[in-house]
């Protein structure tokens, strides 16, 4: 029997008691220096009151937004949260990227008052692909944003089809009061969001300059999910994202409510783009993060903000001031070297980073360290490196340095990509040693790139933080 105990004021005693315990757990973990306490309190809370998430989310005045997708969800979620904070709303947000159910619970616990009020007007929750179903069931969001579906870690999720099927089930069950915002340039997402009860809104690009000539190797076979024919593109932008159509049955990209165009990429610093809403007035926005993939993230975030009713001025202000999430792309001054760090976690993300680094000169200009680990959060299978188009690096003079638990796999991949052997340098696999050897190899006063996989990025961050070069991420 799971009785609910309520006080005379109607407070849920189980909720109140569980919140207090979970909050203490979070504080203790932070005090002990065991990381940011970003998800353990969620585990504690879930044990004590399994309905806590639903109860707290129901108390939000402005409801909740859930963001999912293979790439860009952390950045997009942060952009949305930044816009909401300018309203100003207090935002419940799993900001540190802890994106399983327990991470979302922990975010709510941290914000909530001890009396069981959610402590914010609105929530923006990033959902791991495998957690979307459970998070939607528990949080009951007003908006679900689906960014993209790329090949990521098949050893963790099984096959892409499996995720698509699960998501399709999630979307089908949403009621008419929910809005589903979908990247219309992704044919897979369009198919799974067809004929649902919820309201569907699409965004996409209509971009003249930044196009791909051919489908990258990392892109999954773009097949019409209705008739099985190969899809064609009027324009292809990132991976299999673009203005697609089926030459056989005539299916095509749906009408876009939010359209991005005239994208200007400003190196590894920032970008600008135009967004038009419903084919009407065009808004020019600058965004403080680089690369075409971030144009998609900004477009997605703008679509969410507009659907919540935020004026364009606030969106523009938040985007202009936006800076990258921890480790995704950032500049660090360390021992007199100017290091740009960019997270690489799957083929599409890696391709886009390489595209950004080689855009100006057509080759790699600066020394670059690639750090590949094969722990759970990286994907234990390093096969994905063979889907990245490293052939881009065969041009240019920048030397390549490899490290990480699978550094030797990376070095071998570069060899088969046609990078000259005298440009490939194997560093020690262990990270602090690999980092030290790399920094030693870069002359003082010079710039260099570091491209770590997820846990390699955590290790680099810890080393750099311990040595005073960057802040620990949970303080951001």
């Amino acid at each position: 029997m799971d009785k609910e105990f309520r006080t005379a004021q109607g407070r849920d005693l189980r909720l109140v008691a569980s919140l207090a315990t979970a909050k203490v757990a979070g504080a203790v973990i932070r005090r002990l220096g065991r990381g940011g306490g970003t998800s353990a309190p969620g585990l504690v809370a879930d044990r004590l009151d399994s309905a806590m998430l639903t109860k707290l989310a129901a108390g939000l005045e402005q409801g909740a937004v859930i963001v999912a997708g293979t790439n860009g969800k952390t950045t997009t979620t942060r952009m949305i949260a930044d816009v909401f904070e300018l309203v100003p709303w207090r935002v419940v947000h799993n900001r540190s990227g802890s994106n399983l159910v327990r991470g979302a619970i922990a975010a709510f616990v941290q914000r909530a008052s001890l009396t069981g009020c959610p402590g914010g007007e609105i929530a923006v929750i990033e959902a791991d692909e495998a957690a979307l179903q459970e998070l939607v069931r528990r949080v009951r969001p007003r908006i679900v944003l689906l960014n993209n579906l790329f090949r990521d870690q098949l050893d963790r999720y099984g096959e892409l089809d499996t995720i698509g099927k699960t998501w399709r089930g999630v979307l089908k069950d949403l009621d008419a009061g929910t809005t589903v915002i979908v990247n219309g340039d992704d044919p897979a997402l369009v198919v799974i969001s067809d004929s649902i009860t919820a309201k569907r809104i699409c965004f996409g690009l209509d971009e003249q300059t930044h196009r791909l000539d051919v489908l990258p190797h990392a892109a999954d076979a773009a097949v019409c999910r209705v008739c099985g024919a190969d899809l064609a593109y009027h324009a292809l932008y990132v991976s299999h994202l673009g203005d697609w159509y089926c030459p056989n049955c005539g299916r095509k990209r749906p009408d876009l409510t939010y359209t991005g165009s005239n994208i200007e990429l400003q190196g590894v610093q920032s970008l600008a783009l135009n967004i038009s809403e419903g084919g009407g007035h065009t808004h020019h926005l600058t965004v403080g993060v680089p690369g075409l993939y971030n144009a998609y993230n900004a477009l997605a975030a703008a679509a969410v903000a507009r659907e919540v009713g935020i004026p364009w001025e606030l969106i523009g202000q938040a985007f202009d001031a936006f800076r990258s999430a921890f480790g995704r792309i950032e500049r660090v001054q360390y021992k007199g070297r100017d290091l740009t760090l960019a997270l690489v976690k799957n083929p599409t993300g890696f391709n886009e980073v390489l595209r950004m680094l080689t855009a100006e000169t057509g080759g790699l200009a600066l020394p670059t360290m690639i750090a590949i680990n094969d722990l759970d959060a990286d994907g234990r299978d390093v096969s994905w490196l063979w889907d990245v188009d490293f052939e881009l690096l065969a041009r240019g003079k920048g030397d390549l340095y490899t490290t990480g638990l699978r550094g030797p796999d990376m070095a071998n991949r570069l060899k088969y990509a046609g990078v000259a052997l005298d440009r490939i340098h194997s560093l020690p696999n262990e990270l602090p040693a690999g980092l030290d050897a790399f920094v030693e190899a870069v002359p003082e006063g010079h710039a260099a790139y570091m491209l770590p996989s997820y846990t390699a990025m955590l290790a680099l961050h810890k080393t750099l933080a311990d040595r005073g070069a960057v802040d620990a991420f949970w303080e951001q």
Partner: protein
Amino acid sequence: MTTESPKCLVVGWLYGTKMNIYGDRGNVLAIAQRARWRDIDVEIREIGFGEPIPDDVDIFFWGGGQDQEQVAVSHDMQGEKAEQLRTAIENGAAMLAVCGGYQLLGHEYRPHNGEPLRGVGLFDAASTAGPERFIGNVVVNSRWGTLVGFENHSGLTWLGEGVEPLGKIQVGRGNNGQDGTEGAIYRNAIGCYLHGALLPKNPALTDWLIEMGLRHRYGSADLPDIDDDLERRAHETAMQRAFTTR
């Protein structure tokens, strides 16, 4: 004075990008690069749906696909086309098939739901969808020494009596998790569950495929040694990671 005309090899990539689930194109890249580094020209030909098997392919590669593609591919690889592929192998062409391609080279594949998929029948083997997914690093003892790769499959493959496996499992689950075998060999055709990609960090196997391809075309082969320092290190690291993680 005579100058020897450069040697060439034709690689036939079955269903190309339709059956390239996870880095398996690295195998095609390894064959092509290691041949080119010996001044052998390589032509890579994709063999797609509805297209016959060309009779001048020296080395075939067939990768894995997702369920939906696997069904479409099995329907395409029937009748005359399957016969052409069997004939090519009987005539000495080399082949590597990984995961889905390997399963479809047996007699049949029985999925969890739906009709059994009929295979090419090149290997005396049959596969069924199993209850558990085998995921992780693999080390196999084979006639090419140790082979390292990464398995990720729920299909269980059983070899017929007398069928030579690719090797014996040292680390990992292999064909079916029970009999200690991994993969299958018939003439110069190899099937297995090893991703990784397999060939770039197992250069002895790659060179054997190239050698068989050259013999198929020229009747003889002479492959000079090349620098394998990075390949060897990748191989050793993969072995260490396999011992550490499973």
